[in-house]
C-alpha cells in the first residue's frame, strides 16, 4: 500500500480563524469577571450603582471646588455667582489660604527652612538603612541625623546636642576599653553607667560652658509653636526611632531566662498594651508632675513623645518576640556551640535573622503609631486636627468641615499607604531571599 499515489497533500497551514467575539477582548473579560453567574451579575450591577451614587454626589462638589478664596463667605459668593447658583462646590480655598498653618502650625514663618532641612537630613540618614545598596559612608549622616534634626527643629545653642552626642561617644569608648581590659560584663555596665553619669552631671555644665565661650546657635523655637503635619511627623518619627531599640531590649528581656527581668518585661508590656493610648496621654498631661521631683516640670510635647515612645516600644517588643520565636532553635544552639556569649550571639546570629522576619510587623506598628499621633489633639497640642478646629474657630472659616477632613485624611492616607506598600515590598523581597 506504500506506493499508492497521494492525491492531495496540504502544503500550507490554514490561517487561524478569529475566535468568536464572545471569547476575546473586553466581552470575554466581562463575561468571566463580571457576569459569570446571576449572583455575580447582581453584585456587579449593585456595586456599579454604589459607585455611580458616590461619584454623582461627590464628583461635582470636588470638580467645582473653589481654590482661591480667603474666607467661607467669599467662597460662597463665588459659588453663587457661577453656574446656576444651586450647585454644590467645595471650598478648597481654606487649604491654599491656611496651607502654611496646616503644615507647620505656628512655627515662625521666616524659619520654615529649618523643619524642611531637618526632614531632608532625616531622609538622607534613613536612606542607607532602607536601601542596602547605597554607600556605607552615608551611615555617618544616619548617626548625626537625630542630633542635627533636634537642633534644626528646636534651635538654640549648637553645643547642647553636641554635648548629648558626646555621651554616646563616652559609652562606646568605655565599652571598648573595659571590654578589652577588664571583662565583658564590666564593659556592658560601663557602657550604660558612664554615659548616664556624664549626662546627669557633666553634660549640662559642659554645654553651658562651651556656649558661653563660643556662642554659636540659631534662634530657639518653643514646642508650643510646633503644629500641623510637622508636629505629627516629629512625634511619629522620634517615637519610631527611639522605640525600636527599646522594643528590641524589651523583647530580649521577655524571652530571657532571668526570672525577675522577664517578669518586669511582661508586666511592662502587658500594662502598656492593655490601656488605651489616650489614657496614657492624659497620664502624661495630668500625672507626670506627681511622679517627678517637686518643682520640676518639662515640656508637654516632650512628655507626649516619651509616652508615645514607651507605648510603641511595647507593641514593637511583641512583634520582635514573634520574630525571635519564629527562629529555629538550632540557630540559638549553633551560636552557643561557637562559644559566643549572650550579647555576641544575639548581635551576630539571632537578631539579624529575627529582625528580618519581623520587619513587616514593625512597619505595620509604625503605621499605627503615625495614625495615633492624631490623638495628641485631646491634650491640647496642635496636630493637623487641632489646627483644623483652630481654623474652624476663626471668623473667616467658621463652619467648614469636609474640605479640611478630606485634606488631612488624604495626607495621612498617602503616607500610611506608601509605608504599607514598602512593607509589602520588603515581605516579597525577604521571601525571595529565603528561597
Amino acid at each position: 500500500m506504500s506506493d499508492t499515489p497521494v492525491t492531495y497533500v496540504r502544503t500550507q497551514m490554514l490561517d487561524q480563524q478569529a475566535p468568536p467575539t464572545s471569547e476575546v477582548g473586553p466581552v470575554r473579560w466581562m463575561r468571566e469577571n463580571l457576569f459569570s453567574s446571576p449572583m455575580n451579575a447582581i453584585l456587579t450591577i449593585l456595586s456599579l450603582y454604589v459607585v455611580y451614587v458616590v461619584i454623582s454626589h461627590v464628583g461635582p462638589w470636588l470638580v467645582n471646588g473653589i481654590w482661591d478664596a480667603d474666607s467661607l463667605s467669599e467662597c460662597r459668593e463665588i459659588i453663587a455667582a457661577t453656574g446656576d447658583g444651586h450647585h454644590s462646590a467645595a471650598c478648597f480655598g481654606v487649604i491654599t489660604a491656611r496651607w502654611h498653618q496646616l503644615v507647620f502650625g505656628y512655627y515662625p514663618s521666616e524659619l520654615y527652612w529649618r523643619p524642611v532641612l531637618a526632614l531632608v537630613v532625616f531622609l538622607v540618614g534613613i536612606a542607607p538603612v532602607m536601601f542596602p545598596s547605597l554607600p556605607r559612608k552615608l551611615y555617618i549622616v544616619t548617626m548625626a541625623a537625630p542630633f542635627l534634626c533636634f537642633w534644626l527643629l528646636w534651635g538654640g545653642s549648637i553645643w547642647f546636642p553636641i554635648a548629648i552626642a558626646l555621651g554616646f561617644g563616652v559609652g562606646v569608648v568605655a565599652h571598648k576599653l573595659l571590654d578589652a581590659n577588664v571583662s565583658s560584663l564590666a564593659g556592658m555596665i560601663g557602657a550604660i553607667l558612664l554615659p548616664l553619669i556624664y549626662w546627669l552631671y557633666i553634660c549640662g555644665p559642659l554645654a553651658g560652658g562651651l556656649a558661653s565661650i563660643i556662642p554659636l546657635g540659631i534662634e530657639f523655637v518653643p514646642s508650643r509653636s510646633f503644629g500641623g503635619f510637622m508636629l505629627s511627623i516629629v512625634i511619629g518619627l522620634s517615637a519610631i526611632v527611639i522605640s525600636l531599640p527599646l522594643g528590641i531590649l524589651l523583647a530580649l528581656a521577655r524571652r530571657s531566662d532571668l526570672f525577675i527581668i522577664k517578669t518586669c518585661a511582661v508586666v511592662f508590656i502587658e500594662v502598656i498594651r492593655g490601656i488605651p493610648l489616650i489614657v496614657w496621654l492624659f497620664t502624661a498631661q495630668l500625672l507626670l508632675n506627681y511622679f517627678l521631683p517637686p518643682g520640676s516640670s518639662f515640656d508637654l510635647t516632650l512628655r507626649v513623645i516619651i509616652m508615645v515612645t514607651l507605648f510603641a516600644a511595647a507593641y514593637i517588643a511583641e512583634v520582635i518576640r514573634g520574630g525571635l520565636a519564629a527562629l529555629p532553635k538550632g540557630q540559638y544552639e549553633g551560636a552557643d556551640s561557637l562559644g559566643l556569649n549572650y550579647w555576641q550571639s544575639m548581635q551576630l546570629i539571632v537578631l539579624p535573622q529575627a529582625l528580618k522576619i519581623s520587619i513587616p510587623g514593625i512597619v505595620n506598628t509604625f503605621i499605627g503609631l503615625f495614625k495615633d499621633t492624631t490623638l495628641v489633639v485631646f491634650i491640647g497640642l496642635f496636630d493637623p486636627l487641632g489646627i483644623a478646629s483652630a481654623i474652624r474657630a476663626t471668623t473667616e472659616w467658621n463652619g467648614i468641615y469636609w474640605e479640611l477632613f478630606l485634606f488631612i485624611g488624604i495626607m495621612f492616607f498617602i503616607s500610611c499607604f506608601s509605608m504599607g506598600r514598602y512593607s509589602l515590598y520588603l515581605e516579597k523581597k525577604l521571601q525571595r531571599e529565603h528561597r
Binding site: 468571566e32 469577571n33 463580571l34 459569570s36 455575580n40 453584585l43 456587579t44 456595586s47 456599579l48 454604589v50 459607585v51 571583662s183 560584663l185 531566662d257 532571668l258 526570672f259 525577675i260 527581668i261 518586669c264 502587658e270 500594662v271 498594651r273 492593655g274 490601656i275 488605651p276 493610648l277 489616650i278 489614657v279 492624659f282 497620664t283 495630668l286 500625672l287 508632675n289 506627681y290 511622679f291 517627678l292 521631683p293 517637686p294 503605621i367 495614625k371 495615633d372 492624631t374 490623638l375 489633639v377 485631646f378 486636627l385 468641615y401 469636609w402 477632613f405 488631612i408 485624611g409 495621612f412 492616607f413 500610611c416 499607604f417 504599607g420
Partner: protein
Amino acid sequence: MSTLTDPPKPGFRLSQLIYDTRYRSITIQVIALVLIVGAFWWLGNNTVNNLNALGKDFDFGFLNSAAGYDINQRLIEYDNQMSHGRAALVGILNTLLVAFMGCVSALIIGVFVGVLRLSKNWVVSKLMAVYVEGFRNVPLLIWILLIGAVMSESMPQPREFRGEDATQSMYFSDNVAVTNRGIWIPRLGFANSISGEDAVAPIDGATPVAAGGADWLLILGTLALSLIAMRYVRNRADKVQQSTGDRPTIWYQQLAILVIPVGVVLIALGATIVSPYLKGFNFTEGTHLRNSLIALWVALSLYTGAFIAEIVRAGILAVSKGQSEAAAALGIQPSRTMKLVILPQAMRVIIPPLISQFLNLTKNSSLAIAVGYMDVRATLGGITINQTGRELEGMLLMGAFYLALSLLISGGMNYYNRSTQLAER
C-alpha cells in the same frame, strides 16, 4: 612528672558572682531588682511629696459622694444626686455597650468584605479593596469626626418633619426618624410587665406600657433556653447520622424551638411596638440613638471591619487548595465543604489576630471623647476628675478597668483559641 595543679578549691568565692555564669545571673537579677525597687521608691516618694505640697491625700472616698452631673445616655438608673461611683459604672456600661456593638458589627462587616474581596468579580473585589485600604490608612479619629459631622451637619432637623408640608418624612412607615439630633427607632413596651414599673401610655389613648428590665431578662432567658434546646436537637441528629448514615431533617424543628417560646412570652407580656413621634420640637418615645453613639459605633465598626476583612482573607487563603479537592474526592457536597473543611481550618489562622482586633476596638472606644459619648473616660476619667481634683485615683481606677477588660477578653479568647487549636504531638 611534677606535681599536678591543684584542683579548684571547693566552696564559694566572691569573684564567682561576676565571673561564674552559674552565679552571675543571680547578681544581675539582684542588681535589676534593686534598681527597680529604687526607681519605684523614688517615684512613690516624689508622689507623696507632691501630694503633701498640694495638700491632697490618697483616698477613694470621693466615689461615694454625690456626682452632681448628668449623663445623657444611661443603661442603668442614674441621676445627678447619685454617687461618683455610680456615674463611673454608667460610663463603664456605656463603654462596654459600644465595644460590644462594635465587635459584632465589625465582625459581620469584616467577614463579608473579606469574602467579597476574594470574589472573582472584578468590580466587587476592587470596591472592597478601596474600602479596606481607605479605612486602614486613615486615622480612626478622622473617621469618627467625619461621621459625627455627617450626622450633625447634613441630617434634617426635627422641625422639618412637622406639619402638612413637611420636607422630610420618617422611614419604614413612620417608625424610624433620622435627624441631626440622632436616630429614633421603635422600642418594645410591655402592657403586662412583670418588672413592677408604672405603665405609661406612650401617646394619648394608647394602651399603657412599661419598659421593664425584668421583661427583657425573661425574654433573653427564654432565648438562651431555646438555643440550648436547638443544640440538643442538632446533637441528636448528628448521632442518628453517625449510626444510620441518614441525616434527619430538623430545620423546621429548630425554627419552631427558636420562635414559639419567645413568641409565647412576648404575647403573655403584652408586648407592643412603641414608635417614635414628633412632640414639640423633638421626637419622643421609641429608643433614641444619640449622634455620639452612632458616630462612634459606625466609625469603630467600619475601621475595625477593614482590618478584620484582611484577617479573614488571609485565613481563607491560608487553607490550601488540596483541602477542598480532598473534600470533593471524599464526596462531601460543595455546599458543606466550606462549613466542614475550609472554615474550621481557616478559623485557626483567623482567631488569634481577630482577638487582638477586638481588643483594639475596645481600647479605641476611648476615642469617644471626640464626639462627647459618655464612656468611662468621660465620666470617671473626665468630669469626676475635674470636679473632685482626684487625678491620681481616677486615672488609676480607669487604667485598672481597661487593663482588667483587656486581660479578660484576651484570656477568654485565648481559652477559646486553645480549644479550637490543632493538638500537635
